[in-house]
């Protein structure tokens, strides 16, 4: 059971937002959909959920056609930056409607979360701050109980306490009864430990799609004096080099050669996801 995107292309006027994107979201895994601002993450999620139409390509949900298909789409819930609820609607009403459209919606749980986050049920959606609008939407996403939950920049505007609370509740739900989560964000560091799989989007294309562990074990950092580092990285697949005075840190793909002659006086370290992401997506 999975969501499959095959060769999705989308242009907005002159701008090509997605060029032949193919990706798979398997059941019960936490994905990080990572990309810089404007890389095409939101467009991808909007196409996946039928909010906009691709120029070409297909969306398949659990082996069914994903486009304009109620039963397929009702397995998916997208929490996006744009608010589709009418301005004048109150939070409690929004919960009420969610319950009508999604049989699995847990209104009690949603109300409990609202209290924890300090969201007033009587508040009008238009009157909510950016942070509370995000909170409103992520409460819906956590309470809707569908197999595929997509979160587009879920913690936009949230303070540190609320972010922590959100991640904890998300993990509680996930460990109690696993479902697919797609976290689309540019806040790599925060989600690095939450996600199991990584999809990196760069300028409308999928740069990498693999498990986080595989991705990170595919590279390393090497630091030391500039001359030593420069010698070592000859002929290697280098993503980038940071310089600080006479010291260098290089980001290299592959397996570290600690025993080689050129590795003397050099320090080897693991690559972390954010550094790897930055190196991969710098043009």
């Amino acid at each position: 059971m999975s969501i499959e995107l095959a060769n999705i292309t989308k242009s907005f006027g002159q701008v090509q937002a997605l060029r032949g994107v193919s990706a798979v979201f398997h059941e019960e895994r936490i994905y990080g959909l990572l990309g810089r601002n404007g890389a095409g993450k939101s467009t991808l999620l909007n196409i996946l959920t039928g909010r906009i139409f691709p120029d070409s390509g297909t969306v398949t949900v659990d082996n069914e056609r994903g486009t304009e298909n109620d039963s397929a789409q009702s397995k998916i819930f997208l929490m996006s930056e744009t608010t589709l609820h009418p301005d004048f609607m109150r939070v409690s009403k929004a919960f009420h409607w969610a319950g009508i459209f999604y049989p699995g919606f847990d209104e009690g749980y949603a109300k409990g979360l609202a209290q924890e986050f300090g969201l007033s049920l009587k508040a009008k959606i238009s009157g909510l701050s950016t942070g509370y609008r995000s909170i409103f939407k992520l409460i819906l996403a956590l309470s809707v109980n569908v197999p595929y939950v997509l979160l587009d920049e879920p913690v936009l505007g949230l303070d540190a306490n609320h972010r922590e609370l959100f991640y904890k509740r998300l993990l509680e739900k996930y460990t109690a009864k696993p479902f697919t989560v797609v976290l689309s964000t540019h806040l790599i560091e925060e989600v690095a430990n939450l996600i199991e799989d990584v999809i990196i989007i760069k300028e409308g294309e999928v740069l990498r799609q693999e498990s986080r562990d595989e991705l990170l074990s595919g590279g390393y950092t090497v630091s030391g004096g500039s001359a030593a580092v420069e010698t070592y990285i000859q002929g290697k697949n280098v993503l980038g080099v940071d310089a600080l005075g006479g010291l260098r840190t290089a980001y290299v793909l592959g397996v570290p050669e600690r025993d080689s002659q050129s590795a003397k006086d050099l320090e080897f370290g693991p690559m972390d996801l954010q550094k790897l992401f930055i190196q991969l997506t710098n043009s």
Binding site: R51, F53, I76, F77, L84, H85
Partner: protein, 246 residues
């Protein structure tokens, strides 16, 4: 499977407006009732339902002009396909028009009743009777009344809805061209026709004949309005099926 929830959602949009509409109408009648002790023979207050169907037609039209965007977006948020939304909309259309048709008839009956008590102040006429010269206040008359209202509302509401979906699909330039351009075009055509009697001599009889053919009797009117509703709804679907979220 999401047709019923979508129907409820779209219907919900209309309920407050319809309720307020009838509250206003009834309030006006009651207000006049309350003023009767203070009226002198010279006062020329007359509350009639002559025009109520016309007013409701305008109301139905305006209601559907506002009906699309909010519910479309909310439906999409809840993973409802456009096809389901469209089908649910047809249900909403039928329901609202039926409610309005019934509401009008009840209002007419109310005023007819009041008219028996205060003939100078109240009278219950119906547009249907006026157009089709049907005599008598009978249950049969009420039924015909309701049918007439229902089908006129259907045609007008589906037109309003078509226009609002069209408006949603158009970009800024398109909107200006359409909303400003259409009245201008109509105005130009009308002034051309009135300036050229020979042309007028052909077109006006043609139009009059067309309207006669389409609406001269209740059965004809039903068929014509149904056809119009089908055409408007069909065009709406063509516009709706590729509508994206903005």
């Amino acid at each position: 499977m999401k047709i019923y929830p979508s129907f409820r959602l779209q219907l919900q949009d209309h309920i407050p407006a319809v309720i307020i509409y009838y509250i206003v109408l009834i309030s006006m009648a009651l207000l006049s009732l309350a003023l009767i002790p203070f009226m002198t023979p010279n006062d020329n207050i007359h509350v009639t339902t002559n025009g109520v169907t016309v007013v409701t037609i305008i109301f139905a039209y305006v209601c559907s002009l506002c009906a699309f965007k909010d519910s479309f977006l909310l439906n999409i948020q809840h993973s409802v396909s456009r096809r389901t939304q469209f089908i649910a909309r047809l249900g909403t259309l039928g329901t609202v028009c039926a409610v309005l048709a019934l509401g009008d008839e009840l209002y007419t009956l109310l005023l007819t009743g009041l008219g028996r008590l205060f003939p100078t102040v109240f009278s219950g006429e119906s547009l249907y009777r006026m157009i089709y010269s049907y005599d008598g206040m009978s249950p049969k008359g009420s039924v015909f009344n309701i049918i007439f209202s229902f089908f006129s509302f259907l045609a007008v509401s589906s037109l309003g809805y078509l226009l609002t979906v069209l408006n949603y699909r158009l970009n800024k330039i398109g909107k200006v061209l359409f909303w400003a351009g259409t009245p201008i075009a109509v105005g130009l055509i009308a002034s051309y026709i009135s300036a050229h009697p020979s042309v007028a001599g052909i077109i006006i009889p043609f139009l009059t004949g067309l309207i006669w053919a389409l609406f001269s009797s209740l059965p004809r009117m039903i068929i014509s309005c149904t056809l119009l509703t089908v055409v408007f709804s069909g065009l709406t679907w063509l516009l709706m099926r590729r509508a994206g979220v903005k």
